[in-house]
Point group: C2
Chain length 265, copies 2
DNA sequence: TATAGAGTCTCCTGTTAGGGTAAGGTCAAT
DNA sequence: ATTGACCTTACCCTAACAGGAGACTCTATA
């Protein structure tokens, strides 16, 4: 039997950590003195401690580790979990690498004594008098990550009802605030026919900017548009909408072209 | 002036986030109605919000971002911080990559239906009757990461006092528990001369295992040694110590050879 | 056997960056 | 005047512990 201090010394887990693992039921001492509350571990528990430490380095959460320990006989489960972690780690590395690239671009800008927010000045804003469309649309509260799924629904409707698209698809944003899991959005396709499910979309005069690349730059575009509207003494007049010039199914994210429109007066 | 909801929609920061940033003083609304408590932002603050979001993706903490914003005129400071982050990210990526490699090795073991903790069985333990040494030593509470620094101090003492080393340097661990920042360790060098600063080190009979590679495997070695001592009905008799067979200054981490000794009876 | 000092106990608070929810006040349009 | 959308504060919750206080227990020595 090892006291908690001895166990700590051997396993290289701190006292705090061991007590915490006891509390959450991850690694309970083999024996706890009911009177004094002293914890006593046996030697074989050191191996469990080692396993926990190892899984921790692989970025498993303690909850995940607990599940693995409880089902330690189930090697298949363990293998699956390990492979999932492998994918997670690989993904993390790619994410970090692309972050690093962007960061290095910014550092380069700084070294050339340019403004790091300078890319904002390169966003070009045009005043357009948007056309009137006959649209087939669907307004829903959706999770932004399911965006494409809902669009596909609408696409299939166009096909099955044999309607004739007349311009690129668009999305109208009704959401008052930004909550990614619950976006109030109306997806629409301009079509030739006027059936009872279609309606007329006529935003009037608009400020427009073009987004090329990742959706992450959307707040920049919005910022720029708002600043422009204020500078030019216009006022927002209706809900913003976006027109998708490229097909997200076949276009790489960095080549996406999306036009952002703000109706103004 | 933008209400918090409008500002949220444009900046893609949630209401909670904006209120939190107000609370911690990272991004305070340009105007707060004293009566109603309503927050109002102006358009130019959108750009600050964008900057914050961007720095967040680079893994700056909100505290760090705050410092950057406060000293926004100080481009040198910003550049330094950015370069530090760049290093951090690069390091993270190398760490993750080496983790991934280890994880993949483990997965391979699993696929060969071997025990993932099997490496423990390959640790070889020998019973040795350790020699008696005359040692020059220094016992201190140190941070484990400063280990080498303290060793170098002792080395220089050997040189300046013109003493004659007679065996590899060693470290004796007195710490009762594991607290990396506060390790009670005695570093020592066996020498020929017996001066008044030296003492005799005579651990007696010991169980010994050899660690090759990273220090991370130390808990495994300790675990194995303790299990071995129990199995063979010995008892610990004194404080463990380590002998450094390779020079950490000139040896790659993965080629380090360290002998771990547990005095027993 | 008494005692000192090392070891251990529980309990409480703090950390990051907000999320969730409740109860209530405010704004703008009808 | 009312309604419904919008906004407010306040409280509790997250993961994986760290730090510290105050009290209890164990063990080695005198």
């Amino acid at each position: 039997m090892l006291s908690i201090g001895e166990f700590s010394k051997i396993s290289h887990l701190t006292l705090k950590t061991l007590r915490y693992y006891d509390e959450i039921g991850l690694l309970k001492p083999a024996f706890t003195d009911a009177k004094s509350g002293y914890r006593y571990y046996n030697i074989s528990q050191l191996e469990t401690a080692l396993l926990i430490s190892r899984l921790k380095t692989y970025l498993f959460s303690l909850d995940e580790i607990k599940v693995i320990l409880i089902n330690w006989h189930d090697t298949d489960l363990f293998q699956v979990k390990m492979k999932t972690k492998q994918e997670n780690l690989t993904q993390q590395i790619t994410i970090y690498s692309s972050l690093l690239k962007k960061l290095e671009l910014d550092i380069q800008l700084l070294e050339e004594e340019k403004n790091i927010m300078g890319y904002l000045d390169q966003i070009d804003i045009k005043l357009v008098d948007h056309l009137t469309f006959n649209i087939l649309s669907q307004r829903k509260q959706i999770n932004i990550s399911d965006f494409l799924i809902h669009f596909n629904e609408l696409f299939s409707k166009v096909v099955f009802e044999k309607l004739t698209p007349t311009a690129k698809p668009l999305a109208i944003f009704h959401s008052a605030e930004y909550v990614p899991e619950n976006y109030d959005v109306e997806i629409a396709i301009p079509i030739v026919e006027a059936i009872n499910e279609t309606k007329v979309f006529n935003p009037g005069i608009c400020a427009m900017a073009t987004l090329i690349g990742s959706y992450d730059e959307l707040p920049s575009i919005h910022t720029k548009l708002h600043a422009w509207i204020e500078e030019n003494h216009y006022k927002l007049n209706g809900t913003p909408f976006e027109v998708y010039q490229t097909d997200p199914h076949t276009t790489l994210e960095e080549h996406n072209i999306i036009e952002i429109y703000f109706p103004i007066k």
